[in-house]
Subunit: 217 residues, 4 copies
DNA sequence: AGTTAAACGAGACGGTACGTCAGGTCTTACA
DNA sequence: TGTAAGACCTGACGTACCGTCTCGTTTAACT
């Protein structure tokens, strides 16, 4: 379950690691609890170990940093998310999805921790890739598929880079999550979805100016 | 000049603060130099004080944190930026602006520090507002004005919230700056500008779906 | 009044120092007050200056250390002590004197401060001589005279070094003041006076063993 | 070996503390060395830690203050003292003992440190009891026994409080150690021993005046 | 069932930096 | 010019955690 060490994922490991599941869960729980109580900034490996009734070494053995622990915990916590809707209306479906995202982002036990994790990734070089691989990409992939389905149905230009589109949409959400210059509310969500998906449809006719820009130094 | 303490800004202060300009500059220079050499993560008030030949107390007297010091230094450093272009073509002009922004973001002595500052703002509650007020808003304001000029000329819908538009555009840039899932290059810049400004123009006709989303729970 | 700087002591200064008497008294009062409230350990030049409404420099200008300030203050405070009794009975008179000394030593606003001052003298080389000259010797001198009067009357051996005798007596008192291994009470006072003055009278007959000791390596 | 923490003293500790003997000795050595070089006043936990190649926490873990460290070091250093002499002549023996004490007190690597420790005990309430228990009482006890032996032989009054007698003798020595108003030399040593022990023998006949004093207010 | 090797809890260790306190010096403005 | 005020550099404080390193003690697979 831990992303950073080459540990087989529990299932069907012939020479099973002697890792204690009890400790693993206690650590993840302690990390979440402490984070909820005092915030990520005041989280420390020391405190997690104490709270989990675990030696510090046991944490360092399986995770490279406190950020890695919390990432694991958040992934576990937020894993069972709703299925991607497909009503046929791609704008409406994206709106629904983004609404559920801002719900997650504004949850006091999730948004601040995710923000702190991204923050910590600025000083821990290993954390950004881990975040991408274990949190962001797995959740973005099915949304990208939904957009690709729309492409196949001709609802969106086939040439569109859907990953980049999602980056623009989520960029707008993360911007408010991290900078806090405005509320992460449904109005903002629909504004972002509308403007970006409108732009997707209209982008074909704007190709020339795009090329001009690319030629610019 | 310091954003965080109630120091009169030079103008018309009869009982001028006895603050030492020499120390102030030495501290800002030391912060920048150390940050460039070892990165923000390894920056410490202790080291800045030592490098600047200054007592720690002198730093704590005028800034609340190392982040505040670096913010001041970055603002000073990046202050004299190019004027906002106005060729009449709002898409091209935005493209030019965003290009200069990614130039700044990809500069090794700026982008990582800005990213680290935003990161630090996740654990230092005072830093985010300071970043907004002293770095982001002053630089965003003239760009918003450029968009408003385009609105007045009918090049963009009058009802458009230009600040929100800029949040989407810059959100996309910050997303790559902070998560590093792709290069901050001219291609990405033009993609973002085109898709968002296209969406701005087309947004009028999409109003209905937006309203529908807002009505959604 | 200050012992440590070459300031004329008020008397007969032709071109009197422009020193502010108001500040001087405020400083001494503040030192005593702070000492009484929080103890000598927590006394600081900084705090005295603040309490006295005085610049730190004004203190450093006229006293070399916080100990010097407090010494001045204590000397001023404890100056008007009772006259030396002379009933003809030297043992009884010394007893009376020592009783008044332990009264002073056990006074919560004096004993601890004097002890702290002697303590501080162990790290401030200038303080020990100052203590001797301004506090100890002036108070010991009239007692020595009382003993000398007894010598002249034949109540004590003429060869006796009365200053050394007083050192033994006061040494015993200071021992309890500083080490606190027993109460500074009248019983101890009388024990000390009796044993030492008895020893003084008997010392004549013990001369031989003393000489033997002195010859020892 | 440390007086201030409840560490079992080696004997019969089944689950022995994991305390590092290497660090302990390095700390005591460093404290002594620094004290010898720069004096107790300039001694700091910081410097001891650096000199000993030890983390500051390791010092704070086992000692409550720098004074406690030095006390431990001095006790270790001065532990193997000469046996108490018993020639039958109590005055001569006490003289011998006191001579060895002033030898210790006048040693440049001991006297000043002991004085400083007593000085520090005036502001550190925990230090005075520690000094008594770990330095003064253990060294005074066998001397008191010597006096009690003399009492049993009728050389000294049986009613004499020998601890108090030693307080008077040592008080006289500490007085010179701390106030420095005269040399701690053999002449002073023999003067003190003679006068006090003479007083002991003569004290019987002086009982009346003592009682009179005690009745005094 | 006994052996053995890992993972475990506990926590001491050498360090780094924190943010605070006070020391003693220096500068400025007022009286 | 002496003061009140207070900024300045210095250095130590005691604390919090870091990440590493023993210690014995489970604990579970493999003799």
């Amino acid at each position: 379950m831990c992303y950073a060490h080459p540990v087989t994922t529990a299932t069907s490991a012939p020479l099973a690691s002697r890792r204690s599941e009890r400790s693993r869960l206690a650590i993840l729980d302690a990390a979440l609890a402490l984070c909820a109580e005092q915030g990520y900034a005041n989280l420390s490996v020391e405190a997690v170990a104490a709270r989990a009734g675990v030696g510090k070494q046991t944490i360092y053995r399986w995770w490279p940093s406190k950020g890695a622990v919390l990432l694991d915990a958040l992934v576990r916590e937020s894993a069972p998310h709703a299925p991607i809707p497909d009503t046929g209306d791609v704008v409406a479906d994206l709106g629904t999805i983004v609404l559920s995202v801002i719900e997650l982002f504004t949850h006091p036990d999730f948004g601040p921790h995710l923000a702190a994790l991204i923050g910590d990734a600025q000083r821990d070089p290993a954390l950004a890739p881990a975040l991408l691989e274990h949190f962001i990409r797995p959740r973005r992939a099915p949304i990208a598929e939904r957009l690709q389905r729309a492409q196949r149905l001709g609802q969106l230009p086939a040439s569109l880079d859907v990953d980049a589109v999602l980056e623009v949409i989520f960029g707008a959400l993360y911007h408010r999550l991290l900078l806090r210059n405005g509320p992460l509310d449904p109005a903002y969500a629909s504004f972002v979805v509308n403007i970006v998906l409108s732009g997707c449809s209209a982008t074909q006719t704007k190709r020339r100016s795009r090329r001009r820009l690319e030629a610019d130094p």
